[in-house]
């Protein structure tokens, strides 16, 4: 039942290499396996940049009062890629940054797994901090990814970032 109605949104339609190429070109992609941070970082290397800020969002072992065993992220890949490209474009207009890359993972994740990675490089430090936070907030608000948490009593719940 879960696989019937959600199976398509638990994995990406592209190859892993293609996802990284899109991330490098457009600044955003979805991925359905472990995020390779060093691969993303290497695309941000730039001698003119003195500052690199990154954010990793990891699966926590609790959410509010509940103990989380694992969770699954589901994504609407085509809209996510279009919206992600727009977010990174907008970030480059708003902040004095050189480049930014973000990847959101979908599928079943365990505690400690990285669900989202955002990296920004800039000449100076404050724009990198500001842009990284803004990109993260905007991804959380606008990228069509949904999260279902599985608790110790086998119950599940659809989460929402906006209350």
């Amino acid at each position: 039942m879960v696989d019937q109605v959600h199976g398509q949104s638990m994995s990406i339609k592209r190859s892993i290499d293609e996802a990284y190429l899109i991330a490098e070109r457009d600044g955003f992609a979805l991925l359905d396996i472990d995020i390779d941070e060093s691969r993303l970082k290497s695309t941000l290397d730039d001698g003119s940049c003195g500052a690199f800020v990154c954010f990793e969002g990891r699966v926590r072992n609790h959410n509010n009062a509940s103990s989380v065993n694992r969770l699954t992220y589901y994504g609407y890949e085509e809209l996510a890629l279009n919206q992600g490209r727009a977010i990174i474009e907008e970030a480059k207009k708003r902040f004095e940054i050189t480049h930014a890359i973000a990847i959101h993972r979908i599928g079943a994740l365990e505690i400690g797994d990285v669900a989202i990675w955002v990296g920004v490089v800039s000449a100076h430090r404050y724009p990198a901090f500001d842009a990284c936070r803004w990109i993260l907030d905007t991804i959380k608000a606008d990228i069509p990814v949904w999260k279902q948490e599985y608790y110790q009593d086998d119950s599940t719940k659809w989460l929402s970032n906006n209350g």
């Binding site: 019937q4 949104s9 992220y73 085509e78 959380k140 949904w146 659809w158 989460l159 970032n161």
Partner: protein, 100 residues
Amino acid sequence: MSTLLESNTNTDIDNNISTMMDITVLYFASLADEAHCHEEKITVPQSTSLTGLYEQLRQKHRFSRPQSELRVAVNDYFAKWTDEINHGDSVVFITPVAGG
């Protein structure tokens, strides 16, 4: 699908085959749970609005969320609820997201 068509015959005067649109609707998250499917193809009158489309599907699948809690995407881009739908469009209703 036939129920959808029937429910619109009273409001659409030019309800013949030339004014119908084929639309693909994708469901994600709780809407997929409630619709019991990820995708459905439906045929609706050409004048159907996005809000009208959601109301029809809400009645059909007994969706718990009102339209006011949703966003809508057409052809893989976010759209305004007032945007028109065209034949062949893909429409997705977006429940509150939870990435990050």
